[in-house]
């Protein structure tokens, strides 16, 4: 077995046999599902909490317009003063009091109304109240203009435009967001992997330094071989972890499909009738078949291509960052000294994620998205957010993909070379925390 293979094997086994790794692998999906369940549960509890609002309406308007609905229930007060109404609301522990004073017309009554609460009220509650006022005021104004309620009802409904590509594929609203979200999930995965496994590489280098085995090892192998073996071994452990997660997620997905009875073949059939899609058919379609359409679109995302590119960007991005992590580990004596060096690494990663979520979601092929998907320190994350739209027509232009990968490979070679130089000197330096200036000097040793 070659020396590199020996090192990879040792690093892999050292990682995989580690108790915390085993626990992480099996616990984090459970934690993840648990979190989602918990959030859903808490949201539900929150919604179940019904807020009671007293209504003291001294005007002839808005009568019975405040109807208890969802989280809000209204309680009408009659023939009491404002002060005693307030008192009883406080005494009964209700949420607030809506006071509509008497006035000569509706506009005046509305603008003189007040909503009293113990603390500043939540914006969703205010929204609900305002919606009622707005609707009534609009009705009133329309009536003043001579429009009947029946006429108004006929005019007042929302319109959803249907969209399709020139090729005739029906687009579903929000699909771009969903695609960007999937890309974002991949990008986020890469960022987390780099931070977690880069950290592992760094700690492993520090461990070799503090346990003083490093000089024994590099009297047998080249420092570069050791660094490379360490990075590869650690990443294989990470890939093992991902493989376990993907495998269990696939099984979970299978279970979900079986339980909710989604028929993948029906999904495919649904997409074919897009060009001749009639308005009537659209209205006839039930919520179920819309779900089917979305599911179908998700199935049509080029998963194989996406996963392929995920691997490419993942490997290159990870190698760039983890060799920097290895160099940092070599430069310091203990983990507490790493902070000043780690921050500049995390920065482009964070930037990539934020730029991705704010810019790529809205405009996947805009100048910012293109720029960041070419810049090598952010491209692994940002490009993956753009890729679910496909490559070529309607998606990412091919030249951008090629340029971005080319730049990434170039940077990869450059960074690994620099990191290896710092690593080679750093692993034999003990006792003091180096400055950036010293690191720069090491490059020339």
């Amino acid at each position: 077995m070659s020396k590199l293979a020996l090192i990879i094997k040792r690093e892999y086994l050292a990682k995989v046999r580690n108790k915390s790794f085993v626990i992480m692998t099996f616990l984090s999906p459970i934690l993840m599902v648990g979190m989602i369940v918990l959030i859903a549960y808490l949201t539900k509890i929150n919604d179940d909490d019904i807020k009671t609002i007293g209504v003291l309406n001294e005007s002839p308007y808005f009568t019975n317009k405040f109807k208890s609905n969802g989280p809000i229930s209204y309680l009408d007060f009659r023939e009491v003063s404002l002060e005693s109404a307030k008192d009883s609301i406080v005494n009964m522990g209700f949420y607030g009091l809506l006071y509509i004073p008497d006035a000569s017309d509706m506009e005046e009554a509305a603008s003189a109304s007040y909503f009293y609460t113990q603390d500043a009220p939540g914006s969703s509650i205010i929204d609900v109240l305002e919606t009622v006022f707005t609707k009534q005021l609009r009705l009133q104004r329309l009536q003043d203009l001579g429009v009947s309620v029946a006429d108004f009802d006929r005019v007042d409904h929302n319109f959803d435009i249907k969209t399709a590509t020139f090729a005739g594929q029906q687009n579903l609203k929000g699909l771009n967001e969903i695609k960007a979200f999937i890309g974002g999930a991949f990008g986020y995965l890469i960022m987390m992997f780099i931070i977690i496994y880069g950290g592992f590489v760094m700690r492993s280098v520090i461990e070799e330094k503090t346990s003083r085995i490093i000089e024994v090892i590099i009297s047998s192998v080249k420092p570069f071989q050791l660094m490379l073996g360490k990075i590869i071994g650690t990443s294989l452990a990470g890939i093992t972890q991902f493989a376990i997660w993907i495998f269990s997620a696939t099984i979970l997905l299978g279970v979900v499909i079986a339980v909710f009875d989604i028929d993948p073949s029906a999904l495919n059939a649904g997409a074919e009738n897009a060009p001749g899609f009639s308005g009537a058919a659209a209205y006839a379609s039930t919520a179920d078949s819309t779900m089917q359409l979305y599911a179908n679109e998700l199935f049509k995302i080029p998963w194989a291509m996406l996963i392929g590119f995920f691997m490419v960007y993942f490997v290159l991005g990870y190698f760039i960052y983890s060799s920097i992590y290895a160099a940092i580990g070599a430069a310091v004596d203990n983990e507490t000294d790493t902070q000043q060096f780690i921050f500049p690494i995390i920065l482009p990663l964070m930037l990539a994620i934020y730029v991705g979520f704010f810019s790529v979601f809205n405009n996947p092929h805009g100048p910012i998205a293109v720029g960041f998907s070419l810049f090598p320190l952010t491209s692994p994350i940002v490009m993956l957010m753009r890729l679910p739209g496909g490559i070529g027509e309607g998606g990412v232009p091919l030249w951008q993909v090629i340029t971005s990968i080319g730049l990434l490979i170039g940077t990869f070679i450059g960074i690994v070379w620099l990191a290896a130089k710092i690593y080679r000197v750093g692993i034999l330096m003990y006792g003091k925390k180096p400055t950036y200036k010293e690191l720069f000097k090491w490059l020339r040793y």
């Binding site: 020996l6 003083r212 085995i213 000089e215 090892i217 047998s220 192998v221």
Partner: protein
């Protein structure tokens, strides 16, 4: 070829600091070679160059007559001053890993490890984790790993630091045994007295330069000053000491046991002791007559002083 390792004018610089300045060495085969000098003199840098951990800026190194290259790492065993093991790895597994990195096959490494574990009586450590071992125990493992691949050249940097006296003796005996079997050995240390009795050759390194090297016995011969320590049980002789002072250069003298015993140190002009012995004959019972051989430490200090004198 008589030399296992030859260094020619090796220089190494780190930034502005000169770590080695044109150091040349010849390390004969089948011998123990002491690389001596204070901390920071450049010993470790030289050793790292021999191990190809760093590379010289100038000069060249030859291993067994051929320019040093990467395949030679398998023929060198190195016990660094800063040494350790992976703490959470099992002893046997770790020893196997390190042996394989030196180019041994797994089966070969296993067989040899078994031999050494039995020899040093640590066979039951195989499945222990290193963190369960004491420092001395870990040092034994490190020693085994260093010699396991039967290198032609062994390099020990401060080998006895961290060993208790018993284990240090065991290791010392093993090292002598290895020389018997034909291995060449380099000892590097700043504690010169610790290896004096073991070394056949020495080189003194001071401030990045080699200031002295050669066969230890030759060096000692060259540096001895014909100083003798004499002890004489007197037979009631008066005026002997005055007489001696008149004829010889007496460095120090004292009477003990109520004037019954005279101890003195004398420096003779040459190694001929006949005149002194003739003077002493019949004056009492000679119970001590030893030549003072300078220690390596003395030689080191004297060399530095001489050098500073010339500069």
């Amino acid at each position: 070829m008589d030399n296992i390792l030859v260094a020619r004018e090796v220089s190494k610089q780190f930034g502005k600091h000169i770590a080695l300045n044109k150091v040349s060495l010849e390390i004969p085969k089948n011998s123990i070679y002491g690389l001596l000098g204070p901390n920071g003199a450049g010993k470790t840098t030289l050793i790292r160059i021999i191990n190809q951990i760093t590379y010289p800026d100038q000069g060249s190194v030859f291993f067994d007559g051929k320019p040093l290259e990467s395949k030679h790492v398998a023929m060198i065993g190195y016990l660094p001053e800063e040494r350790g093991l992976y703490k959470s790895m099992k002893v046997g597994e770790q020893a196997l890993y390190l042996a394989q990195l030196k180019g041994l096959s797994k089966t070969e490494a296993k067989a040899r490890l078994k031999y050494w574990f039995d020899r040093l009586d640590i066979g039951d450590w195989w499945h222990k984790k290193v963190q369960e071992l004491s420092k001395g125990m870990a040092q034994k493992i490190q020693f085994i790993v260093t010699v396991l691949h039967q290198p032609k050249l062994l390099i020990f940097d401060e080998p006895f630091s961290g060993f208790d006296p018993i284990n240090a003796n065991i290791i010392k005996d093993e090292i002598l045994q290895l020389r018997e079997n034909g291995t060449s050995i380099i000892f590097s240390t700043h504690r010169m007295e610790s290896v004096e009795e073991l070394c056949d050759y020495i080189a003194l390194i001071h401030r990045s330069e080699k200031i002295l090297d050669g066969k230890l016995t030759d060096i000692k011969q060259a540096y001895k000053n014909n100083i003798f320590k004499v002890g004489l049980g007197l037979k009631n002789v008066n005026g002997l000491l005055e007489d001696l002072h008149d004829n010889f250069q007496i460095l120090h003298s004292e009477y003990i046991e109520d004037g019954q015993q005279l101890n003195f140190t004398v420096q003779l002009p040459n190694s001929d002791t006949g005149a002194l012995l003739a003077k002493l004959s019949g004056k009492g019972n000679l119970n001590n007559f030893t030549e003072t051989i300078p220690s390596t430490n003395d030689i080191f200090i004297q060399t530095i002083q001489n050098k500073n004198l010339y500069e």
